[in-house]
């Protein structure tokens, strides 16, 4: 059965003609990718502003009187949920997944372009529902991003009326959107690879996105289940999660429900979610590092296996988020064990990235700087994960700023470093323009050093026992005055980093407007997306004939070859040698 994504098309291509079919109701994966990324970044800016407001309150309590405790909790909740689900998941899979999968495997588009379009519009709908909760009576939910019952839907919690319902509805719609997109990504990778593109010749970006999508397909149903059951509790008065209790002096009309059940369901989604964000980041950063270090990726097969292993393991570690829920100590032992095992494939990946750089011909471009910044922040956040994975260390540190520092380092800053690395790396292909190198470097150093200034001191606050989630610390015996000063300093750094992101947007818009025209392959990369006939690629990506792939995506610095890279689609007999008499032979590294 032949169909568009894997077929040569000798006839003239039928490009969409009108503005609406080309840019609004588009079925072109590249346009959908930009729609996804644009929406995700826009909603991410909202979450960034919310974090700035939180830091204003934490750094300078009693100064900004417009921030009430209820609003503070709403900022916390919306910041967390937007960043994790609506920004990172959507940007990595909907944005980069959509853009890179067909281009890197040599397909014309996703196998179900219409479903792909639908996926974006459902995602947009979920974002609009979520944003609507800012404007309903009571405001958005302030239950914390984990939305734990009973307090999430109990009177007295900020946004316990319309806010939480809109949040649950938005999540359910998001899951539907993700499932439509995810079916597409997985089927496309399995079915639409071009001639010669075996699974083990795929760039690691595709591997990361592919496995993360499978994780998402199996993890998001847990979120859906918990959202549906909690909506039932709220709207229909069932008692799935709601125990009998007295709230604000009155006996509520619930009985027998289990809040712990919600925690299990939520974290069965919540932990794989970490890797839904991390695996695409691992993949993208591998490609950026290899390209700019001019070295083949070290241990390609191990990198693939590690991605698959991490994906599998991520489903059996969820309860390490629940050590303090009063669970059986033997469960704690089991989950600590599985959690620490994940460190092995993850460490393999880190060693391989570092070894890729070893004796490489490193070009310190902006994407490379961000990729190397990722290695730092990820090692940092990963190591503190080893602390928290142990039950005995987690118990005192849980609910302190140490946890905040850990997860922001590992799944906040690190993926964002990769997001920027990837945007700068693929921007010339996406837009056809070069970005401003100088502004990019300012953006990198400010963000990299700035985020360290934010999160490094937070570990110390955590050791002091400063609790997270508190609106104000008040006066206690164990929190010294210096902690307040540290908090103020962190806030200054946070606001600096937040404002600095303007440099990034200026760079993007300035480059789109008046940037230098980009070379089709400005980084001398080998993978297929750089070898399209047009830059940016046109509808259908490849002209009349699909590319044929002869090798893996990491053929850098092969001995005897004139250039230091061999593109994936260059036939072996056309490879230029340093010594014209010599014949090119694919070599073992």
């Amino acid at each position: 059965m032949s169909y568009v994504p894997i077929a040569d098309q000798p006839d003239e291509m039928h490009d969409p003609q009108t503005f609406i079919t080309k840019y609004i109701w588009s079925q072109d994966h590249k346009v959908i990718a930009i729609q996804y990324a644009g929406t995700a970044i826009a909603v991410g800016v909202v979450a960034l502003v919310l974090s700035g407001l939180m830091r204003l309150q934490l750094g300078f309590p009693d100064t900004f009187t417009f921030i009430e405790p209820a609003e503070y909790y709403q900022y916390v909740t919306m910041h967390g949920m937007i960043m994790v689900v609506y920004l990172l998941t959507a940007l990595f899979l909907g944005g980069f997944g959509n853009y890179l999968i067909p281009l890197q495997i040599g397909a014309r588009d996703m196998v179900f372009p219409f479903l792909n379009m639908l996926s974006y519009w459902f995602y947009l709908l979920s974002v609009l529902i979520l944003m609507a909760s800012f404007f309903v009576p009571g405001g958005p939910t302030g239950a914390g991003w984990t939305l734990y019952p009973p307090q999430a839907i109990t009177e007295g919690t900020p946004g316990a009326g319309a806010g939480i319902m809109l949040m649950l509805a938005s999540l359910a719609v998001f899951v539907v959107a993700f499932t439509m997109g995810g079916l597409n990504y997985v089927t496309t990778v399995l079915q639409a690879r071009t001639r010669g593109m075996t699974l083990m010749r795929m760039p690691l970006s595709v591997w990361g996105i592919f496995v993360a999508t499978i994780l998402g397909l199996f993890a998001f149903p847990a979120l859906f289940v918990s959202a549906v059951m909690m909506s039932f509790d709220k709207l229909l008065g069932t008692s799935f999660f709601m125990p009998a209790m007295i709230s604000l002096g009155e006996v509520v009309d619930y009985r027998g429900g289990s809040p712990i059940l919600f925690q299990h369901l939520f974290w069965f989604f919540g932990h794989p979610e970490v890797y839904i964000v991390a695996l695409p980041a691992f993949g993208l950063v591998s490609d950026v590092l290899s390209t700019h270090a001019r070295r083949n990726i070290f241990g390609y097969r191990m990198m693939v296996w590690a991605i698959v292993a991490i994906g599998g393991l991520s489903f059996i570690v969820w309860a390490h988020h629940m050590y303090v829920s009063g669970m059986n100590p033997y469960f704690g032992f089991f989950f600590a064990f599985t959690t620490l095992i994940i460190a092995i494939p993850t460490a393999i990946k880190v060693y391989n990235w570092v070894l890729t750089l070893w004796q490489g011909n490193i070009r310190l471009t902006v994407p490379m700087l961000f990729a190397m910044g990722f290695i730092f922040t990820f090692i940092h956040g990963g190591l503190t994960g080893l602390f928290l994975g142990n039950v005995t260390i987690d118990l005192p540190l849980s609910d302190t700023y140490f946890v905040v520092a850990h997860f922001h380092m590992v799944m906040g800053v690190s993926p964002v470093m990769v997001v920027f690395a990837a945007i700068y790396h693929w921007f010339p292909k996406i837009s056809g323009k070069m970005f401003d190198e100088r502004l990019g470097k300012i953006h990198f150093w400010g963000t990299f050093l700035g985020t360290y200034a934010i999160y490094l001191p937070m570990h110390y606050l955590g050791f002091l026992g400063v609790p997270r989630r508190y609106f104000a610390l008040g006066t206690t015996d164990f929190i010294p005055q210096s902690a307040f000063e540290l908090n103020a300093a962190i806030s200054v750094a946070a606001i600096f980093v937040g404002v600095l992101q303007i440099v990034f947007f200026i760079n993007i818009f300035k480059s789109l407007w008046s940037g230098k025209k980009a070379d089709p392959n400005p980084w001398d990369a080998t993978s297929l997306e750089w070898l399209t006939p047009d830059t940016p690629p046109r509808h259908g990506n490849w002209g009349h004939e699909l590319p044929t792939v002869y090798r893996w995506a990491y053929e850098y610095g092969s001995p005897g070859v004139k250039e230091d890279f061999v593109p994936q689609n260059l036939p072996p007999n056309e490879v230029q040698m340093e010594n014209p008499g010599e014949k090119y032979k694919e070599s073992e590294h």
């Binding site: 075996t198 289990s258 044929t548």
Partner: protein
């Protein structure tokens, strides 16, 4: 080549794989992408209902003696409406009819296919009607969705199952419309019916599992 065996390939080692890889891997898994997508989708639905199943057991196991739960889990054993047996029979019969339609479509017998399409739709609607009768019976005997946890789960799970059936019917109706008014591509029609058949069999197995779950708890 199996997925796991291909993971062992060394992509940088070209001895003997250059030509075979170029010719061999393009067909992917050898099925239509729609069918692969359907199988993936059904595994997602399986995970969804398994999680509901886990939640069902965990909620049922809420320790009634624990002070945490104020003495009671409020789980009353549900007396399932008898009509569910009839509905199960109808659904089994529907699956049979749809399987028969799939075979006829494969053989290219257009008239019988149309008959099967209409008959399958009528039976599926009958199943949905039967489920709504079961709901009404429960309602009339005073078991509302919030009466106790067992009835909550009953309404929730049967409702979700019915929604999946309705989703399938939507595709079934459009296939029927294609068969009657736009019969240009019998191969395409037959592959759509094949996908529907897989979906209906899946929903039947799912329903039987749910029914067994309800009956035994």
């Amino acid at each position: 080549m199996s997925f796991f065996r291909s993971l062992l390939l060394k992509p940088w080692n070209y001895e003997g794989q250059e030509t075979s890889a170029i010719a061999g891997d393009m067909a992917g898994l050898g099925s239509a992408p729609q069918q692969i997508a359907l199988v993936i989708f059904l595994s997602v639905v399986t995970v969804l209902f398994s999680l509901f199943g886990v939640a069902y057991f965990m909620r049922m196991a809420v320790d009634t003696s624990s002070p945490l739960f104020c003495g009671a889990g409020y789980w009353e054993v549900l007396n399932e409406p008898k009509i569910l047996w009839l509905n199960t029979g109808i659904l089994i019969f529907t699956s049979g009819v749809i399987e028969w339609t799939r075979r006829e479509a494969g053989l290219g017998r257009g008239g019988l296919v149309k008959l099967g399409l209409v008959f399958g739709a009528v039976l599926t609607l009958a199943f949905l009607y039967g489920q709504s009768v079961a709901w009404r019976e429960l309602n009339q005997s005073g078991y509302m969705v919030n009466s106790n946890a067992a009835t909550s789960f009953f309404y929730l799970l049967t409702g979700l199952h019915a929604l999946h059936v309705i989703g399938g019917l939507w595709v079934w109706f459009s296939t029927t419309a294609t068969a009657f008014f736009d019969e240009t591509d019998p191969v395409r029609l037959s592959s759509t019916i094949k996908l529907c058949a897989i979906y209906w069999h899946f929903l039947l197995i799912l329903w039987v599992l749910l029914f067994v779950l309800f009956l035994n708890t």
